[in-house]
Amino acid sequence: MMRRIHSRIDPRDAAFLANVEHNRALAAELERRQHAVRTIRPERDLQRLERQGKMTVRARLEQLLDPGTPFLELSTLAAGETPYAEDAPGAGQLVGIGIVSGKEVVIRADDSSVKGGAWYPMSVKKIVRALDIAIENRLPVVHMCDSAGGFLPLQAQFFADRYGAGRIFRNQSTLSKMGVPQVALVLGNCTAGGAYIPALSDYSVIVRGTGAIFLGGPPLVKAATGEDVTVDELGGADMHTSVSGVADYPADNELHGIAITREIVAQWRRQPKAGEPAIDPEPPAYDPAELYGILPADGRVQFDMREVIARIVDGSRFHEYQPGYGTTLICGYARIWGQQVGILANNGVLFSDSALKGAHFIELCDQNRTPLLFLQNITGFMVGREYERRGITKDGAKMIMAVSGASVPKISINCGASFGAGTYGMNGRAFDPRFMFSWPRSQVAVMGAEQAAGVLTTVKIRQMEREGGALTDEQIAAIREPVIAEYQRSSSAWYATSELWDDGVIDPLATRETIAIALSAALNTPIPEPRYGVFRM
């Protein structure tokens, strides 16, 4: 049994109370945004669904899941900062990890309440990511299909590229090849590319009357060949399950279809979990709600990441590795819901010693088959002549090499800042964390807004000075402020999650449970033997 972290927080402190207020407001803002994406729809769209005899995507999800089991929704706020945010709440997709008939599965569902569930650029990105998650974590997939197809005016942004729409079908084929099953429940139209989702699923269920699968719908057929044909004749449930064999099971209505889908999932085998088995969990000794008081309202103020760890891990128990060396990076072992993790958490900028410690600890965890948890709050590596002479870049490279090479599952949480090379060393999105989440207060960018605005405005100011003489402070501010505002917007958590740079923004108080579900999912995949590239010595 390991020792508990000794917290030094004073919950009656004025700064603590101010932080609580600030972070509560951020959590409320997250809640407000999620609520809007999940439930607020124009009345006429809801009436249309009702006329069609369709449930909302949330109602379908509720019927699909085992009652009372946890559901981890992913990328809820995807596309939230795009110009088409209103037309595609959550990118028009509902994605998450949940329990169906006792099995951990990825659920991916089209939301047809707005714009007929058309796929926008971020919809495609979210679907591809959902299937990447299924591949990396060997999670079976339940698709609930109800989409009008790709949104034509923006096709150049989601069709032809490597991670464009074709990747959805490539990923489906890959899953099948790996022996990871998928079932598609067709609850609306699956037109053109969308038709391949049920066709490439190992199992498919289609609902009579509303479900339809075709490469070209009736209007397109009429235009192309002059043939007059109804939706049901062209691609309805009975035709596909008795004539074409495109779908497997006809269902009389949505609930019937969901019941059949649940029965199919119940047939699938369960894989043994990788890694060390979990032990009995223990709640943190310190109240996780105190996180609101710990996270500074001012983003420039540093906080002790041990205080965060103490409110996330079992019993607040932490075995700290190299407690006296490279102290700006905290490394150590803990358990989350009984599952062992190796934690790397920032307590300041990265120096050579902290980077070396991080690289070494990653290798230790890899050898020990211990999943890694990165708690990011990093402005970057230390700069300056002395540090360059001592080779800070090659020590950073060692850390990046270790992060890239580790074969155990890695999970990242952006707790505050994730800037520049610090993002790389701390397992940013490009390093394939199995899951990556952001706290509402977090930022991610090449550098902080102040520095970036300095760089961006200096050039402009010099140019204007050459043309029109010296600028007043007001004129400089007028150039600088919009640059800072735009930079801050595009480095915010809302922007990051809109662009799918993470798998969702989470309330800091939900961190422990989120990590537990992510870890459980990640351990469905066997862990390969450790193997690394060349560490620059």
């Binding site: 049994m1 020792r3 030094r8 927080i9 004073d10 000794a285 001012d298 420039r300 103020v301 540093q302 102290t327 700006t328 307590n347 300041g348 900028v349 120096f351 402005t379 970057g380 230390m382 700069v383 300056g384 902080g448 102040e450 520095q451």
Partner: protein, 163 residues
């Protein structure tokens, strides 16, 4: 290494060994066969229903008409040198930077976790806190002074024998 428990105010070194037909509790007074079955605790010749309640790391145990208070003592903490006297006297700079706030002065009494200084480094503000309760002996830096990594910032007066 045996576990250390504090039972009713006295330390005991114990170890539980598994045997073919149950467990043996090895302790400073010898070995005793022990079993727990459906709330019935048997230790040597005594047996009776046992009730256990926990509060933090403390357990309250009621067995055979007697109440006991038990505390598990962590081995690493127990054997650390200076475990009783706290940490180092001098707080050093975790990174190079400049002082942006001074909230302590020589002679001041501080509690563990109190903010002594606020420093800024790489555009980030970090609070330097007291590592233990004590009295400030010296503050080595002044407002807006810059310093290198590991520079001494604040020294606490050493704890006396009777402190």
């Amino acid at each position: 290494m045996r576990h250390c428990i504090e039972l009713d105010g006295h330390d005991h070194l114990i170890w539980l060994s598994r045997t073919a037909d149950g467990y043996i509790l090895r302790f400073d007074g010898g070995d005793v066969a022990i079993s727990l079955d459906n709330g019935l605790l048997r230790a040597g010749d005594s047996q009776g229903p046992v009730h256990i309640a926990g509060q933090g790391d403390r357990l309250f145990i009621h067995w055979n008409g007697e109440s006991h208070e038990l505390l598990f003592k962590d081995a690493v903490l127990r054997h650390a040198a200076g475990a009783a006297s706290g940490s180092e006297d001098t707080v050093r700079a975790p990174m190079p930077g400049a002082v942006v706030g001074v909230s302590s002065e020589a002679g001041q009494t501080v509690m563990e976790g109190d903010i002594l200084l606020v420093i800024e480094s790489m555009k980030l503000e970090t609070a330097i806190r007291a590592s233990r309760d004590g009295v400030v002996e010296a503050v080595h830096v002044t407002l807006s002074q810059s310093f290198e990594r590991d520079a001494p910032l604040v020294t606490l007066a050493p704890l006396g024998e009777d402190a």
